[in-house]
Symmetry: C2
Subunit: 288 residues, 2 copies
C-alpha cells in the first residue's frame, strides 16, 4: 500500500507534468497514477463510512483515517475498484466511452486524490484545489489539443495589463476562445469568475471569450451529525448571470439539486449541467 512519501511524489509529478505540457500523455499518466494510488490507499488504509444525505435523490459516503473524516463522495459516481477505473480511463483516453462511464471516471479521478490529501492534512485546502485545477486543465487541453494560458492581457488606458485567470484557451480561427474558471466549490469567491468574464467581454467584446465554469460540488458535511447538505445561492447566481456577465455553461461533477431546478426554471438565462455532458458536447462548445 502507498505511503505518504509516494502519494506526495505522485501529487508533485501530476502538478509538474501539467505545468510542462497540459495536454500531454505524460500529464494524463501522472494524473491517473496519482488517482489510482489514491483509490487504493482509501481502500486499504482508510475506513469507509456512511453519511446521512439531506440531499434529495443522492447518497453519500466518505472515508476516515486517524479520526479525520474526508469530504463526501457521491455513492453513484465514486468508483472504488481500481481495475474498473483503469478500464474506464483507457476508454476515455481512446475517446470511446459512454456518458455515464465518463461521469463516473472523471468524478473519481477528480475526487480520490482530494480525499487523500485531506486525510493527511485537513488544514491544507490548497493542495486539493491545485490538483483539481490540474485535472480540469488537462482534460480541456487534451480535448482541444491546445495548451491554456493563465494570463489575460487587457488593453487598459493605453497599457497592456496582465491579469491572472484560471485558464484561457485560444482555439484558433472559426472558434470561440474559452475562459475556463475552475473551483472545487464556490461560496464567496465565485463572483471573481463572473468579474473576469466581464473584464474579457469589456476588453474584447462579448463575442470573443465563451465563459465556462467547472465546479465540483456544493456539499457540506456536518462533522458531528455526519449529515450532508448542499449550500446554494440561486438568486445570487441569477443576478450575476443577468447583470454582471454571462457564463455560457456551468458544469458540476455533482450538480446541486437547487441549481438543477434553477436551470429548469430559467433555461435561457443559465445552463448548469453535469460535467458528464462535456464529453458528448465538447466538439460543439467552442463552435461559432
Amino acid at each position: 500500500m502507498p505511503d505518504l512519501a509516494e502519494l506526495r511524489a505522485a501529487y508533485e509529478l501530476a502538478k509538474s507534468q501539467c505545468g510542462a505540457d497540459w495536454k500531454s500523455d505524460a500529464a494524463a499518466n501522472a494524473i491517473f497514477a496519482f488517482a489510482t494510488m489514491s483509490v487504493r490507499f482509501l481502500r486499504t488504509d482508510c475506513s469507509p463510512i456512511d453519511l446521512v444525505s439531506r440531499v434529495p435523490g443522492k447518497q453519500y459516503v466518505s472515508f476516515t483515517r486517524k479520526g479525520v473524516v474526508a469530504r463526501p463522495a457521491n455513492r453513484a459516481l465514486f468508483v472504488k475498484d481500481e481495475r474498473r477505473l483503469a478500464k474506464m480511463w483507457s476508454a476515455l483516453r481512446k475517446g470511446k466511452i459512454d456518458r455515464d462511464s465518463f461521469a463516473q471516471v472523471s468524478y473519481t479521478i477528480a475526487l480520490a486524490p482530494c480525499l487523500v490529501l485531506e486525510l493527511f492534512d485537513r488544514g491544507n485546502k490548497k493542495a486539493p484545489a491545485t490538483y483539481f485545477e490540474c485535472f480540469i486543465g488537462h482534460l480541456f487541453a487534451s480535448s482541444f489539443g491546445v495548451n491554456p494560458q493563465k494570463r489575460a492581457v487587457l488593453p487598459v488606458q493605453g497599457r497592456s495589463v496582465q491579469m491572472t485567470m484560471d485558464f484561457l484557451f485560444d482555439l484558433g480561427k472559426g472558434r470561440y476562445s474559452l475562459h475556463l474558471a475552475v473551483k472545487m466549490s464556490t461560496r464567496e469567491r465565485v463572483v471573481q469568475a463572473w468579474a473576469h468574464q466581464r473584464l474579457l467581454d469589456a476588453a474584447y467584446g462579448a463575442d470573443r471569450y465563451k465563459g465556462i465554469m467547472v465546479l465540483f460540488s456544493e456539499t457540506k458535511l456536518d462533522s458531528r451529525s455526519r449529515e450532508v447538505i448542499e449550500i446554494c445561492v440561486p438568486d445570487q447566481w441569477l443576478a450575476y448571470q443577468s447583470l454582471l456577465a454571462k457564463m455560457d455553461r456551468i458544469y458540476y461533477f455533482d450538480t446541486p439539486y437547487r441549481y438543477q431546478q434553477l436551470t429548469e426554471q430559467f433555461p435561457d438565462v443559465i445552463r448548469i449541467k453535469p460535467f458528464g455532458e462535456f464529453f458528448s458536447e465538447k466538439e460543439t462548445v467552442a463552435l461559432r
Copy 2:
C-alpha cells in the same frame, strides 16, 4: 489596566450599539470607549517595537505581547496618548477639527482595537475586520444622519433578488445613494467591491449609486526581519476601474505609495486618497 474580559465586553458593546443604531451617540461612545481602552492596554501591557520600513517616507511601529507582534502602525498617524486622543475625538464629534487631527484620531480609533484583538488571538481575522466595519459604518451614518442597509434588492428576471453588500446609504432626494465597501486590506477579494458596484449600475443605472471604498492599508510585516512593505496591484485596479465598474472614491487610512502614484498618473480614471480628506469633503461626496 483593562483585562481580556473588559476588552471583549467593550468590543461586543461597540458591535451591538452599531447594530442597534449606527448613527447614534451610543455607538460613538461605545466605539470610543473600546478604542481608548485599547490604547491604554497597548501602553501599559504591551511593549512597543520599531519596525524596519521599506515604504518611502513612512515609519512604522508596532506592539508585542507574549511573543506575538501585532500589525504595523504608521508612526505619524498613531496617537499613543489617551488624553490627546480624547481631545481630538471631542473636536471630531463637534465637527470642529482640522484635517490632520481628523486623520490621526480616525487612524488610531480604527487601528488600536485591531492591534489588541490581534495580540489576544492572532488567528482571528474576523474580529478586527468586524470592528473596522463598525467604525466606518458609524462614521458615515453619523456624518449623513442616515443609517445604512446591508442588503441590495436587485430586480432580476422578474424576481427581487436580495444580495448582501457592505453598506448602502439612501441619502434622499437630490443626492446620490452610496455604495460603501469597507476592508482592512484588499488582496484577492477586492474584486467583489467592483462587482457589486457593477450589479448596482446594471440594475439601477450608473447614476444612482456612487461607489466608495474605505480601506485601511496594504502593509505586510515580515515577522522575522520585521520589515514592512506595501503590496499593491495598480494595473489590476486600473483594469477593474476601466472595464468592470467605476468607484467614485477610494479612501485609505494609510495610502499606499504606489496607489498615490497611480492616482497622479490617471487622475481622470481613479481617485485614491487619504481618509483624512473625507472630513472636509463629506458634504460634497453625495451631491448631484
